[in-house]
């Protein structure tokens, strides 16, 4: 297949696109040919946006989220509750939780989860700096919001042990039947967890409104 590209320049560009996750050689060729049909300036904007991002991006010196400045917009927002820290894997989870508009505290972005298979240990993550934040500020609660996987739970336990010496409450986001799910199709582990972690029901219970 390789030898059939009529141009080395084209082949290089296709190779670069095909390195991206989920992009095969056929899709890469389609994307490159699309860019070739665009104006010069548009293609330069595309390339420039990526290079600028890579060169100038910073990470918040407090929560380690991606940021344009020393301290990110969430950490520097005076209206947020600085006594609660939500621990997440990366920026995508920050964005997902922000979209719920249900959390007004701060975040702490680990930059991954403990995964021996991928060679990621606790020292590769922002766990020491979390300990530092808990030690040196008036944090009252740390909420663990990592993936509900083996690696996520390993990381949860590791962080829990690291934070035990301090006067801080450690909680974990609820795991249960997803909103919109029918009980009969929920898997048994999730269903079991949702029965164990049942919450009081009274007139103040919030109805599910789509």
């Amino acid at each position: 297949m390789n030898s059939s590209y009529p141009s080395v320049l084209l082949e290089n560009a296709v190779n670069e696109f095909a390195k991206l996750p989920g992009i095969g050689r056929k899709t890469a060729l389609r994307l490159v040919l699309h860019l070739l049909r665009q104006e010069d300036s548009q293609v330069e904007d595309f390339a420039q946006a990526i290079v600028t991002l890579k060169q100038e991006i910073r990470y918040c010196n407090c929560c380690h989220n991606i940021s344009d400045s020393e301290t990110c917009s969430i950490c520097s927002d005076k209206s947020r509750d600085t006594s609660v820290i939500c621990v997440v894997e990366n920026i995508r989870e920050v964005m997902a939780i922000e979209n719920t508009i249900q959390f007004k505290g701060l975040y702490h972005v680990l930059g991954g989860i403990i995964s021996p298979i991928d060679g990621i240990g606790p020292s590769d993550l922002q766990i020491a700096s979390l300990e530092e934040r808990v030690k040196s500020s008036e944090v009252k609660e740390v909420i663990l919001a990592l993936s509900a996987t083996m690696e996520g739970d390993t990381t949860n336990f590791y962080i829990f042990r690291k934070l035990q010496p301090y006067d801080v409450k450690v909680s974990i986001i609820a795991r249960g039947v997803s909103v919109g799910d029918e009980i009969e199709y929920a898997d048994e582990v999730t269903l079991g967890r949702s029965i164990l972690n049942r919450t009081p029901f009274d007139e103040s219970y919030k109805l599910i409104v789509k």
Copy 2:
């Protein structure tokens, strides 16, 4: 959703990726975060490959295929049969036909097909230069290999009429039941066409070997 990006630089890069066909905002974010995890040099290579391609790409002055030089590698290949020209829409069809290793002639890349809805008329395509090639060289046959769609057929008829004044045979690639297809699932237009265009069967018939 837009307002929740923690960085304008990140948002710009996501916007640029999301302009590509088939890439939504979620995929764009995934791709950008992937690039952020790579080495600086890899990200620069990525951007450079695209800019270089756009700036330095040339089109063969004979067949109009993408090329690194004035004349593409196919047109300048002395072993190819210069008496047959295969007319295709764009470079992807050239690559697909080259992969079959069944064609030893030259190509002519139109750069699209006639499509009034998209505002593409005959003058936007390399049809005049095809006529020129037929007029000024010893071309004996022109094979039409355009999409089997309304637009493809419109373009076929247009080219056919343009070439009628010249002493050249115009043929069209066979349309019939795809290799591997079961007859009962073939659509009736295709099946009808494959019966009308039946070919002689004898001992020289090539068996379908995968």
